[in-house]
Amino acid sequence: MSVIEVEDFSFKYEGSDFWAVKNINFKLEEGELVLITGPSGCGKSTLCRAFNGLIPHFYSGEYRGSVRVLGHEVKETPTYELARFVSMVFQNPENQLFASTVEREIAFGLENLGLSRDEIRERLEEVLEIIGIRDLRKRAPFELSGGQQQKVAIASVIAMRPKILIMDEPTANLDPVSALEVFQLLLKLRRELSMTIIVVEHRLELISSFVDRIIVMNSGQIVLDGSPRQILVLPEVQRIGIGVPKIVLLCKRLREKGVNIPSLPLTPEEFAEEVNRYRTRQSY
């Protein structure tokens, strides 16, 4: 059984005159780490809301097709039920925060899972450490900087260790190093807890080397689906308006000039290695 199965799914928000997403089909297996990207307004957040049941239980509208999460038909499963295995970090972290301190914010979700006090304390300490917000623990979420708030939102969701983690533009307000740290953490969560993870993100130069699969959406539809190395070199990607990492553009340019780098590098380190390899081949 796939962790997420979407069949012919379309959704039109109430009062709206177009399908925010239409004819979506895809499957996600346990432990996959996928990136969903596409132009602003193309339906990424709408699709995310269909996984945790916000659509159709909170946002009403015209719903077609089927979205199944761990075998549960989302439209027939109450959100509190879905919340046991799907957690989402929202695009705007502030909408998610409500407690009087960072500690309480994180503990709240854990209490709801019915965990023991010891377990809660342990997870709290652990997540404060990994996300690097130990010094903010007694602070009020509303008095934090935008990026600090985003870190708190990420911490409180990760502490719940959901089977399925959905992150809607989780790094939009994070400094570059913090963004990379979050992506590294996702690899760890996948490895240690076989978490299935969906990340929506625009800055492909930061995330591409971390994901197995990239799903590209445009005007409510999935238009491309494949590995980063397959997807990033396609001319359509640029045409749609996706920000292709500069390394990819550089390799394309070099290829045009006759310098053929066979395997597409996704990080500066990989790039230097490829250039070295090219030079070595050259000297034979």
Partner: protein, 260 residues
Amino acid sequence: MNGVNLSVRSGEKIAIMGENGAGKTTLIKHINGLLKPTRGEVKVLGYDTKKTPVSLLARHVGLVLQNPDHQLFAETVEEEIAFALRNFGYPDDIVKKRVEWALNVMDLARYRRTSPFLLSGGERKRVAIASILSYDPEIVIFDEPTTGQDYLQKQKIAQILNLLSLQGKTIIVVTHDIEFAAENFERIVVLSRGTIVADGRPEDVFSDIDAIRKARLLPPQITACAIELQKHYPQINVKTISVDGLCQQILKLVNPFLSS
């Protein structure tokens, strides 16, 4: 903020970068008078912000907040954009013209009668930007204008910044988007723990490993490639930012006989 000295000339376009909690938002809130310095002074167009009413500053300094939801409240996108204009007492025909202009420039015309709260995150951000641009302040400050924006929208925002710059406006942008900063700014100010740790041209700032590390930044991808390559090939210049610039150097490396 701790001992910050910064002067921005009229017509300059600068990016402010730095780690989460560095004080970027705090700094720019001092420029439109939302915050007043506890020590030292902030002068904007010659006005001392401590002695000048926020309402007066607001007319000259447009600030787009990091979280658009703190700024949006009207029932339709159109109303949202018209609000400040009406407030400043512009006549109806001007209001109408400016609103049309802003809707088009920010690619929002199809949402004119939609509630801002029903828009996607990136679209809401664009409404917030439109509502500031519409009243044409001399100094425009954007806190993270590119969040939620795809590459084309980012390009469009960059074009608008250029346009404003050509009109002689002073532009200050806070951003975590390294590629956006590297591509579009000639001056980058790096803030870390409330102090300025670097201030200069992108190629100098982004190759200043010390400042970069302090402020939890990364060099732009091309600069990072140049830094990696330079470990093997000392002739590579690490102050390279453009794809073309690095491409030329690599071509020389693999084919030393190649001229240009």
